[in-house]
């Protein structure tokens, strides 16, 4: 599933269609959205450098991490960031998002540091995060600065949508994202979101704007209000390194994968069967909660005492009296219900006598359907 995401972002937008948009969603119980986001950035950027993606540049809009975090991330993946400033630019909404440093410098209560004033060739500081229109213009300008005008496209990574939603109403944020998706120079766009910071409707708005939603869930759900309980601590520790990664594409349903967070990076693996996961959670009691193989076979062989078995074959139940219709199609009958399909079946017998010939055979209809309460 993770591969499908990379492919979708790499292949980018079709002419005349909206750019693919990915929401990476997590919660406090499984807070790995940043790791997944960073992983997607490094994968996409590698494709851009190798010329394998539709997009020719990447604009990272960073709210919750400093630009140097992303530059170090790419450097550690082996990318020569210094020479790739024509392929990546960072709109720095982290260092001074509200212009406080500017205001303080103006009132002489502040000394800007010399290294702070240094403008990195890869990052531009943005100081008006409450104004989504200005943010939109800055993103587009930065992207066009990377790839030029015309038909060449670039991708956008936003970290994070939560900060945008904190500074601006959801309608403005939705408009920004929608306009970005519709811009004919945007190849793909993705953002991260902490779902427990917002009302359900806000999360829903962002999901509606996405063509792909990747959710991170804990491997083991904890009971409410028991996060600090020491008995759950081993589960918390387990959840701190692993989680479930579920991806949903607009056009089709995705599958779930397991995600492992390690010091060296992130790994995705198919989920083992549910039984194996839950094995450790089955309580140890003195009676057996599972069925053995023989019991399972015997259970499958039990014939239910209904007139039909749901397999499309009509079953005749002898009711002890021959009706006029049946007498024409006489066949050897016995006083035993003739519904046994398996000759090796056990010795159960059901003898059923109808009350009258007028009685209709049992049907699936609910006899109370015509009640009008």
């Amino acid at each position: 599933m993770a591969e499908s995401i990379y492919r979708a972002l790499r292949d980018g937008a079709l002419e005349g269609e909206l750019a693919p948009a990915l929401t990476i969603k997590d919660s406090v119980a499984s807070p790995f959205a940043l790791q997944v986001f960073s992983h997607v950035i490094s994968q996409l950027f590698s494709s851009i450098l190798a010329g394998k993606s539709q997009s020719r540049g990447l604009v990272v809009v960073s709210f919750s991490r400093s630009p140097s975090f992303y530059l170090d991330l790419l450097k550690n993946k082996g990318t020569d960031v210094a020479s790739s400033n024509k392929q990546i630019q960072i709109l720095d909404c982290y260092s001074d998002p509200l212009g406080w440093k500017d205001q303080l410098a103006g009132s002489r209560n502040f000394t800007a540091l010399s290294n702070e004033a240094m403008v990195s060739s890869n990052a531009i500081v943005f100081r008006e995060v409450k104004h989504m229109d200005k943010l939109y213009n800055s993103i587009i300008e930065l992207g066009k600065g990377l790839v030029g005008g015309g038909k060449i496209r670039f991708s956008i990574a936003i970290d994070s949508a939560d900060e945008m939603l904190r500074h601006a109403p959801v309608s403005s944020v939705a408009r920004l994202l929608s306009n970005l998706r519709s811009h004919d120079q945007i190849s793909s766009i993705f953002w991260l979101l902490h779902s427990d910071l917002h009302e359900a409707r806000v999360t829903a708005v962002l999901e509606y704007l996405s063509s792909i939603v990747a959710s991170l869930e804990p491997s083991h759900q904890l009971a409410n209000g028991q996060r600090g309980d020491l008995e759950n601590f081993s589960l918390i520790k387990h959840n701190s390194k692993k989680g479930k990664f579920h991806v949903r594409f607009k056009k089709r349903n995705g599958r779930s994968e397991e995600v492992h967070i390690e010091q060296s990076g992130i790994n995705f693996a198919s989920l083992p069967s549910e039984g194996a996961i839950n094995q450790g959670l089955v309580p140890k009691v003195q009676f057996s909660l599972q069925l053995s193989e023989k019991e399972r076979i015997d259970k499958a062989n039990v014939v239910l005492p209904f007139e039909h078995q749901g397999n499309g074959k009509p079953i005749q139940i002898y009711d002890g009296r021959r009706s006029l219709v049946d007498s024409k199609h006489e066949r050897p009958v016995s006083a035993v219900e003739n519904v046994q399909t398996n000759e090796n079946c056990g010795s159960g017998e059901i003898i059923y006598y109808r009350d009258s010939d007028d009685e209709m055979p049992d049907s699936d209809e609910d006899p109370d359907d015509d009640l009008d309460i």
Binding site: V28, P31, L73, P97, Q103, L104, L197, I236, S240
Partner: protein, 231 residues
Amino acid sequence: MNQRSSNLLDEALGLDQVIEPWPLRGRVVAIEDQVETSGSFVLHHLLKRSLSPNSSNVTIFIAFSQPFSHYDRILRKLGCNLVSQRDNSRFFFFDMLKLQCPDGDEGITPEGGLIALYGKIHKTISALPEISWKNVSIIIDDLSLMEVAANGSSDYVLDFLHYCRTLTSEFDCSLITLNHEDIYSSEDRPTFFIQMEYLADILIKAEPLATGLATDVHGQVPKCYSCFIVG
């Protein structure tokens, strides 16, 4: 028991080895507590470790909860003289007990409110020699009272905390905060509280024992690391 639990805490935070450079540099540490079990002892312990005579660490203490005399009294019992540390410019105490942000402008003016406090912290750290920057700890006691001082505007407090966090990137210093879990437990969606959990690299929770009160054991402190290591 206190001595042993202090050592376990030190071990968990990497404070049992050398403390220079400060092991928590560049990190945000959030301490969460409840009425039944106060987390202040963790703050006091970290303050004592930071001001250890074997190091040249500097602490900037932002107090919304108690006056200087309260911390001085407690740290004396732990063997640390805050007055002399303050005189030696190793301990900076910002008394915020009387801070009341002006209504309505939410600190738009840099003269008052949390913007000015941020400016003061930045100026204090900048004035230190560059080599000391990564040994600086900013301690805030506590966030719920900061929210009160900001007239209940949690957004304004979050903005301030964001700027404090930029200090950890800029100077490689550490930020240690204390917040009370049960104040927010009645909310359907305790956004401010959860925001702090996302912001923190290290989360320390002080909570009562499942078995209830005891005379010699006051509570338990599970610690969760949430640390993204690049490389």
